[in-house]
Symmetry: C2
Subunit: 464 residues, 2 copies
């Protein structure tokens, strides 16, 4: 593994040095460049992130628990690296002037199924005998339909050698090469080493179990495309005002209410599904419950103290999502508030964890949609793609105050935009003492949450 | 795009023909092999699957709805292809004897961040002037720190040309090349075309937003590692027998009960969370609700008429999962029943959809664990990795009878094993008429389910 120091301000990328080709002023008779190291190189970030302007993520962990917690966290991270295929995350180079042709990308097999290897060939000048060798680790190689006289050594083994006095015959044998993975795995990679004389190349073999598509039938109109989701707690007056306002514009749309009120009241009406949770079970627990029940392609998240305005139009959200199938979340505007933010995340080094801060900005504009911008997080008024949001989930540990955490968990997985002109109203409300008590939890709650965050998201520094 | 016919019985793989190298009997003075086509080739399966021994998936769709349904399904599949990056799923070859060195795998950038390109070099014989060219589509190229006299044309554009009379200087310029993606995307790929004289190579550039890890703190014992999940419906007598049996061995473990009984009764006790759903809301809706509430790393699924035996040991499941971090589901045995199965899935062609059948077999053994075998589905007594199972989800559309559907949705995403020696008991029960009515739904229910399946999983043929 070769590493180079990163200069301050230099963006993160591969931190690997590659051989330079100096002393090449003479005119060689034959191609005699030094054999470069083509890898595989581990793709690792050697640069720690710093807690400048942010807070150490472990600052609230009780001192006597910190050591054990860090050990458990390191172990979970180790398992995470295995699960995310870190060992296969390597950089490989194609060396110059190798007389070998081979697939560099896109060669995929299903586990334990014999599959032809595409595109292998040798192109070289005349020799008495041509010999090539191939080596794999997680499978075996074989040449199909071997005929009398064909020189193949290592059939159905990890290391195969082919020779011939005819280049044409050798290439014909290569065209009949197959690979069969010998380990059962649904997602991993093997590396094949292909060599001829003093040339060696490496190419990846993706071992992947096929997935079945999971599609949602959007049906014919907004009622079959979207479910409205609400988390309810104590504020039944506001909840009922909201529901009435929804029904004025959308008499038939399904509404799911996840309710952890201390003394649940009935919430009834056509096409309203009311779920009763243990009392005060929690904000994100309720959000995750609601989204777990959605059968439509999209859902519209609203807080229980919002109110539909005359201008509130669910179809406008749907139009954007349908035009850009890669989108997962389209955020709107609550009253005058079109809050959105970016998350600045650095991976840091394996031993320490990452650093994350939030900035109130957007990324680039969404092409073709005036007033829409990519972001990492939006307000609590958004259309979500059900399958994508379910995959990220709202962490049910988060009981009282949480918002950014969902978008942190979704970073890299959710494509999020915020758009102008998608407004909902906000009810004025008089929160009861009971509500205020839960809504503004004691300091210990915040400390527990920060500790959870330190562990869950493997962080060194946090600030938002 | 070049395609070749697949012979019957030939395993699926890339169906692409590659140029063969014939007429190479003469001894060339210089290397003058024909320039091969290195791609990119679309990775597509041109072979339809057949409904032999299975049933057409659309057989229950009412004739007058079939046309519209198929149109909507085709549109959803088109969007699915976009979301899953089908256009980037290409096969690329490295041509033989190209005097160019370049990264074939592992070059990754974050969106819109200038990143050094690793490993580019030219290795060739003496010339008066050396000229290389690079071309990208989704970003721009530039050479860092350009000095006076360095000949770089197209700085910060899609097409960059570098020349020099010194090979060393040219390679130095190449070592300072950077790529910056110009489109904002969280997961996509660009292709770079790198050429010198009549040689051209292609290499992929992965554009990927970093994800933050999501880890679970397993805590100190089984109570902090596992939550027991039960879906309840009408059978309170059996449910209470089950809960008592759990408490005998595990007095402190958290139990989550998702209950859609017609007239919910209280289910109380320390560390029991009882969720009330709309009456008869459904089996998989209840399962998805239960799993949405889990805060532990693992959960144990049990049906409401199971009963813990003296030998029932949750720790045995955990031990297997902890030893093999890539596992997602470990299935046990209910009474004498250690049911497990494989799913045989063929993708088929884009226009028609796939074919799926079930076989009562296992894949390979799990190395190191006597009596454990990989499978695609298990009985309803299993330990699940919370995050992995949540990502797949239990489809809340499935109200009455469903089992295999979860594993179909999870194919390729869940690594599943079934193991001997992990037993739970099954209560004898007298189902009431009410229960039987819901448990054995009318034919129309089955037909609706099949139609849902036809759409959701984009199937041509189903049998299980």
């Amino acid at each position: 593994m070769m590493r180079e120091k990163r200069s301050p301000g230099q963006p993160c990328g591969q931190k690997v040095s590659f051989p330079r080709f100096s002393n090449l002023n003479r005119v060689p008779e034959i191609l005699d460049f030094p054999r470069p190291n083509v890898g595989p190189f581990r793709n690792e970030n050697p640069t720690p992130c710093t807690c400048q302007n942010t807070n150490p993520a472990n600052q609230y962990v009780p001192k006597k628990e910190l050591d054990d917690l860090q050990k458990r966290r390191a172990e979970e991270f180790r398992q995470h690296q295995i699960r995310t295929g870190k060992e296969n995350d390597v950089l490989i180079l194609a060396p110059a002037n190798a007389p070998l042709q081979y697939p560099i990308r896109g060669f995929r097999v299903t586990p334990m199924n014999k599959t032809p290897v595409p595109g292998l060939a040798l192109q070289t000048q005349k020799r008495a005998v041509y010999k090539v060798s191939l080596r794999v680790q997680k499978g075996v190689l074989s040449v199909s339909d071997i005929q009398e006289g064909e020189q193949v050594d290592g059939q159905d083994e990890k290391h195969l050698r082919i020779s011939s006095s005819s280049l044409q015959q050798l290439n014909d044998l290569l065209s009949r090469l197959t690979y069969t993975s010998t380990i059962y795995h649904i997602k991993t990679e093997d590396l094949a080493y292909f060599s001829f004389e003093n040339h060696e190349v490496i190419f990846p073999i993706e071992i992947r179990r096929l997935s079945v598509p999971v599609l949602f039938d959007p049906g014919k109109d907004v009622n079959s495309q979207v479910t409205v989701l609400i988390k309810a707690f104590l504020r039944y007056k506001e909840l009922n005002v909201l529901i009435s306002s929804i029904r004025r514009s959308y008499p038939k749309i399904k509404i799911i209410v996840a309710d952890d009120s201390l003394k649940p009241e009935k919430v009834e009406g056509d096409n309203i599904e009311h779920y009763i949770m243990p009392p005060a079970q929690g904000w994100f627990a309720g959000r995750n419950l609601a989204v777990s029940q959605v059968t439509t392609k999209y859902f519209l998240w609203v807080d229980d103290d919002f109110v539909f305005l005359n201008e509130t139009r669910i179809e406008s959200f749907v139009k954007i999502m349908e035009s850009v199938p890669e989108l997962d979340v389209v955020g709107g505007q609550v009253g005058g508030n079109q809050f959105s933010f970016l998350l600045q995340y650095e991976e840091g080094i394996s031993e320490e964890g990452g650093c994350i801060t939030r900035a109130v900005r957007t990324h680039a504009p969404l092409p073709g949609f005036d007033g829409c911008f990519f972001a990492d997080g939006v307000v609590n008024y958004f259309l979500g793609r059900t399958q994508a949001v379910r995959r990220v989930a709202f962490d049910p540990f988060l009981k009282r105050v949480a918002h950014t955490e969902f978008f942190v968990d979704g970073l890299g997985d959710l494509l999020v935009v915020t758009c102008k002109g998608l407004r909902i109203g906000h009810q004025k409300h008089s929160a009861t003492n009971n509500y205020r008590f839960y809504r503004h939890p004691p300091k210990s709650d915040l400390e527990e949450k920060m500790t959870h965050h330190f562990f869950k998201n493997y962080l060194k520094c946090i600030k938002y």
